[in-house]
């Protein structure tokens, strides 16, 4: 099929700058897509690796709900479940180590992992670089990781003192584990002890100690290996029947992986959204480029038709050009995408936002990027091709080509382009996201952007008059010419400005989300935490007459010291985050904003026990109000808690905001061993002196001190880091917009050559011509920024609402991002116009009037 293909190719080559800019535009869109896909795949691969290291060869894992761990009866019952070949119980706790009893040499926490030396190696590999493995259940021996050994200067034979809830434990290092050792939930400074020894570490006078003969208590988890041929569903059902003594969490490796993936679902969805935005921009640019090519070559196309070319042949000419641009752009995009993927992955690792070792740039990712780039280009080219085929052969008879003829792009085709790209992007969303947080949110964003773009032609004239005012103050003639030029071809202007609208809308939208996220992320610190500093314990600190909070409260200058403990409750088969608090301390400090229930009464009731205070988000989700009773499951059966009050916000948890219970319930009914945090409030003006004493206590008690303002700053920095990355991806669309502006203004100058020649012939200077093109670009940029800002705010509101489920906290308008969008829009447009303006200004009058 040689036919008119050479003509199509030469037509592209005849406009090298336009073709190159279009290729780069497609490349950028494909690059963002490839980066999003590769990073997402990399996250999945990291999750799989992590899950593999966590569960080893286990098919199931039973985890304790209560802080006290699973009972010995539960562990024994698991062994007896039909289909279970092997169980490997383990205890995992945070602790700290030292060399002298009572004086830990380091407040860097370690993870103590208690294992069954016989069973554990059959489930998890424990490779040693030196020494010997553990032998019995209760020997006073320990394995440490290479990392811990290097950090603390330990070696084989070192005497380790390990501190826990009970008496300090002496253990001899008998082996060094490779690298970071087995995967644990806490710090990767790991000490591996025999199970019985670890149980002794956490046994107190009140609790039973483990024995070498029986399965010890305090077990954090039991890994289960199924017998060959055993059916997982049946075993799960059997476990459900066998384990009725206490609440527990049963998970398969897939569940653990799903939970890890769920924590990054929002980030993945947002990256997919950014990829779609960049692809929109690329598609709009291609549509505009090909539409301009059709207009420019209208007489040639008419000639082809007059010479007998069929409509389908003309369509093929345009589609051939699209395929060349799309393929070249996609190939370049794959290379750019690989680089961008590395950048994104490194950024996420540095921000600590996601577990991603590196992007996974697989053949499937590359093929998807290539296919998407070519497909989108082809779809975008359908409308210009159709228009080209509709060119009447009579047009060839006209002496002069009329750019205002029928071959203008039809912006309605944008709807088709957006729908197709949107559908493509929706397939990239992480599985499991539904409703407003998943496809619904993405669709809503696409609709807002599409509406903004389609409104642009209507808004061009009025907004052009408004934004032209500052230009007209200085360059009156140029501003008049510029506005006339903008109105010449509304569809082309729409496509050009439309890309800018999309890019800047995402910058403003993300800015809105970032501003509100910062406020939301730190608002709870002010509203909820009853202190100026938070002291964090490595191991739970028992509350009582000799507890840390009593010692802290006795410091001169300390107004209040209150203990806090985070734990989980089992409610209606799900995990509920909970926080143990002292109600009267919160009342004294004025913390928590009540939306229902009497404040004083609620605090009193939870201190007395049998009551709970719910955050509003939880109350709405659970469908309960003040006075209702909720039943939570414990090893002793169901425990009723009366809802004493509902507060605006609470402590953030893993699955949502934490419900608040009193210490009496926490210790007596839910098995909480002690506080893991203490909030300290200084008396006004006494912080400087009191903080010294507080610091001393913290050092003695191995507590880490963090001012609340520092925590807020850390949260803000983490958010800034993530949103900075997303802004970078959103800027891809803005860059494409800039490329589109270069193309559009070059075409404008070409079309207006006679007009500009005439103006020069009657006395307009080169500088004035140059300025008129720049002013045109500035006005386009300002219009794009204004429309984009409005659309961006709408998107920001949508994203905030879908993330938090509420808008009544007061919306933070993103002043700086809006200002940035305005400056970026105008500056980028004028920069993009520099070369076309220069060409326009340097045109010879004679050649311009002749139209050469």
């Amino acid at each position: 099929m040689r036919g008119l293909v050479p003509y199509a190719w030469r037509s592209l080559v005849a406009r090298p700058a336009r073709s190159l800019l279009s290729i780069i535009g497609v490349a950028i869109g494909v690059a963002v897509l490839v980066a999003a896909l590769a990073v997402t795949a990399g996250m999945d691969a990291s999750v799989d690796r992590t899950v593999q290291s966590i569960v080893g060869r286990a098919d199931l894992r039973v985890s304790a709900f209560a802080e006290t761990g699973l009972s010995a009866a539960t562990a024994a019952a698991l062994d007896a479940v039909p289909g279970v070949a092997l169980t490997a119980p383990a205890i995992e706790r945070r602790s700290f180590i030292g060399s002298e009893p009572g004086h830990p040499t380091t407040t860097e926490p370690v993870t103590v992992l208690g294992i069954d030396p016989v069973r554990e190696p059959r489930v998890h590999d424990l490779p040693l670089v030196r020494g010997v493995p553990l032998a019995t259940l209760d020997q006073d021996a320990a394995l440490i990781t290479e990392r811990l050994a290097a950090a603390e200067g330990l070696d084989l034979g070192s005497d380790l003192v390990v501190y826990g809830a009970g008496a300090p434990l002496h253990a001899t290092v008998v082996g060094i584990l490779a690298g970071a050792g087995p995967a644990v939930g806490g710090p990767v400074r790991t000490v591996v002890l025999p199970l019985g020894t670890a149980a002794r570490l956490n046994a107190t006078d009140e609790g039973p100690a483990g024995s070498a003969a029986a399965m010890p208590s305090g077990i954090t988890r039991v890994d289960v290996v199924l017998a060959a041929g055993a059916d997982v569903e049946s075993v799960v059902a059997s476990i459900g029947k066998a384990l009725v003594m206490e609440p527990y969490v049963l998970s398969a490796p897939a569940d653990i992986g799903a939970s890890m993936r769920a924590s990054t679902a929002d980030l993945r969805a947002t990256m997919a959204l950014m990829a779609a935005i960049a692809l929109f921009a690329a598609a709009f640019m291609i549509l505009n480029t090909l539409a301009m090519t059709v207009v420019e070559r209208i007489r040639e196309l008419a000639l082809l038709r007059a010479a007998g070319a069929g409509r389908e042949q003309v369509v093929r000419v345009v589609m051939t050009q699209a395929i060349v641009l799309g393929f070249a752009g996609s190939v370049l995009g794959l290379a750019l995408g690989a680089v961008l993927a590395e950048v994104v992955a490194a950024w996420l690792r540095a921000a600590g936002t996601a577990n991603v070792d590196g992007p996974a740039i697989s053949p499937a990712v590359l093929a998807t990027g290539l296919a998407a780039g070519v497909l989108i280009t082809l779809v975008a080219s359908i409308e210009p091709a159709r228009r080209a085929a509709g060119v009447s052969p009579i047009a060839a008879l006209r002496v002069r080509s009329d750019p205002a003829a029928t071959a203008r792009a039809h912006t309605g085709w944008l709807i088709v382009v957006v729908v197709l790209i949107g559908a493509l992007a929706l397939t990239l969303l992480p599985a499991g996201t539904t409703g407003l947080r998943g496809p619904g949110r993405a669709v809503a964003v696409y609709v807002i952007l599409l509406l903004a773009v389609l409104m642009t032609p209507v808004l061009l004239a009025p907004l052009g008059r408004i934004v032209g005012v500052p230009f007209a103050l200085i360059f009156r003639l140029e501003e008049r010419l510029a506005r006339a030029a903008i109105s010449r071809d509304r569809s082309r202007t729409t496509l050009t400005v439309g890309v800018l609208v999309i890019g800047l809308a995402m910058v403003v939208g993300l800015g809105t989300v970032a501003a509100n996220a910062r406020v939301a992320a730190t608002a709870w610190l002010k509203d909820v935490v009853p202190g100026d500093v938070l002291l964090t314990a490595i191991v739970p600190e028992p509350t009582g007459p000799d507890s840390v909070d009593v010692e802290l409260a006795a410091v001169d200058g300390v107004a209040l010291a209150t203990p806090l403990a985070a734990f989980d409750l089992a409610y209606a088969g799900t995990r509920l985050d909970a926080m143990a608090i002292r109600g009267h301390d919160f009342e004294a400090d004025g913390r928590l904003t009540f939306t229902a229930g009497d404040r004083g009464q609620a605090f009193t009731e939870i201190d007395q026990g049998g009551a709970v205070i719910l955050p509003r988000s939880r109350a709405q989700a659970m469908g309960v109000g003040v006075g209702d009773v909720i039943a939570v499951a414990t090893s002793a059966g169901l425990v009723d808690l009366t809802v004493a009050g509902i507060v605006e916000r609470s402590f953030p948890g893993t699955t949502g905001e934490a419900v608040l219970v009193g210490w009496s319930d926490a210790t007596d009914r839910f098995g909480i061993l002690g506080a893991d945090n203490f909030a300290v409030r200084y008396a006004p003006g006494r912080e400087a002196e009191a903080s010294v004493a507080v610091g001393e206590i913290a050092r003695e008690r191995a507590l880490t001190v963090a001012p609340v303002t520092e925590l807020a700053g850390a949260v803000g920095s983490a958010l800034d880091s993530v949103f900075g990355l997303l802004d970078l991806l959103a800027l891809a669309a803005v860059v494409i917009a800039g490329l589109g502006i270069v193309n559009t203004l070059s075409m404008d100058v070409w079309e207006r050559v006679r007009e500009l020649g005439m103006l020069r012939a009657v006395g307009m200077s080169r500088r004035q011509v140059w300025r008129s093109v720049l002013v045109e670009a500035g006005i386009l940029g300002a219009i794009g920024a204004m429309v984009g800002s409005v659309a961006g705010i709408a998107i920001g509101v949508l994203l905030v609402y879908t993330a938090t489920g509420r808008l009544d906290d007061g919306l933070q308008l993103p002043g700086p991002p809006i200002l940035l969008a305005m400056i970026l829009g105008v500056a980028l447009a004028m920069l993009a116009a520099a070369q076309p303006a220069r060409i326009a200004g340097r045109r010879s009058i004679v050649s311009a009037v002749r139209g050469e």
């Binding site: 040689r2 036919g3 008119l4 050479p6 003509y7 030469r10 037509s11 005849a14 007489r299 040639e300 008419a302 000639l303 082809l304 038709r305 007059a306 010479a307 007998g308 070319a309 069929g310 409509r311 042949q313 009447s392 052969p393 009579i394 060839a396 008879l397 006209r398 002496v399 002069r400």
Partner: protein, 270 residues
């Protein structure tokens, strides 16, 4: 209505005699109306004419007389509001798009005022464009020979690899003529082919057209406002206000003198 100029040339011996072959092109009561805001414009009003095979006919009239619109109708580029156009006995006034395309590819050739060459193609490629469109390779076999012949006919041998920008205006128009005749169409239509050329170059183009008519029997319909160009024709239809106001028979002449035509036009008050 026919008439003879006061110094009418002798009827050329090669003019087909009465009782002759059928006309190759026939227009019957052609009308073309355009609806503009607030008014209905009749560009062509009830035009009927015949063109015999191998004849060179000119449609002459001032700007706005409807001659270009009439040419578009005769060439099947546009559809009449009423009336009929027959080319080789077949009606071409109401063809489907596909049929009209085939017509343009196989049976008609066009020369435009503004050359309309494809700037990205060289002379051979521009001349061979109709074959390329038809899916044939103009560089091979019989077709290559026909392309060469057409280029030779317009005296551009040696410039096959030149692009339009490397040719003068006259040379570009000659390429357009070669392209129009390379497929040996039943009918060649030329719309003001000398309109953008200087006098001498224009004569070259008219000479090229005349040669195709004389040497190859090409039937030509020429639209012009210039009597000197119309003087190359065998017959001239004077178009005014959308109608044929007069038909002036000049006959096949080697000298193409415009004086008889001009005199006749003066008699008609044109």
């Amino acid at each position: 209505m026919t008439s003879q100029p006061s110094e009418a040339p002798a009827v050329p011996a090669d003019r087909p005699a009465a009782g002759r072959a059928q006309p190759i092109l026939e227009a019957r009561a052609l009308t073309k109306q355009y609806r503009l805001p607030g008014e209905l414009v009749e560009a062509v009003r009830g035009v009927s004419l015949e063109v015999m095979p191998g004849e060179f006919v000119a449609l002459m009239g001032p700007s706005g007389s409807g001659k270009s619109t009439l040419l578009q109708l005769l060439g099947g580029l546009d559809q009449p509001t009423s009336g009929e156009v027959l080319l080789e006995g077949a009606s071409i006034g109401r063809l489907s798009d596909e049929q009209a395309t085939r017509l343009r590819r196989e049976r008609t050739g066009f020369v435009f005022q503004s050359f309309n060459l494809v700037p990205l193609l060289n002379v051979v490629e521009n001349v061979g464009l109709p074959f390329t469109i038809a899916g044939q390779d103009p560089r091979r076999g019989d077709i290559a020979a026909r392309v060469r012949d057409a280029i030779e006919l317009v005296e551009l041998t040696g410039k096959e690899r030149h692009k339009p920008e490397q040719l003068s205006a006259g040379e570009q128009q000659r390429v357009a003529v070669a392209r129009a005749v390379v497929t040996r169409p039943a009918l060649l239509l030329a719309d003001e082919p000398t309109g953008n050329l200087d006098f001498r170059t224009g004569l070259d183009i008219l000479g090229a057209l005349w040669r195709t008519c004389v040497d190859r029997g090409q039937t030509i319909v020429l639209v012009t406002h210039d009597a000197k160009a119309a003087a190359y024709a065998d017959r001239v239809f004077v178009i005014g206000d959308g109608r044929v106001q007069d038909e002036i028979i000049l006959g096949r002449r080697d000298d193409h003198a415009a004086a008889p035509l001009i005199a006749r036009l003066a008699q008609l008050g044109l």
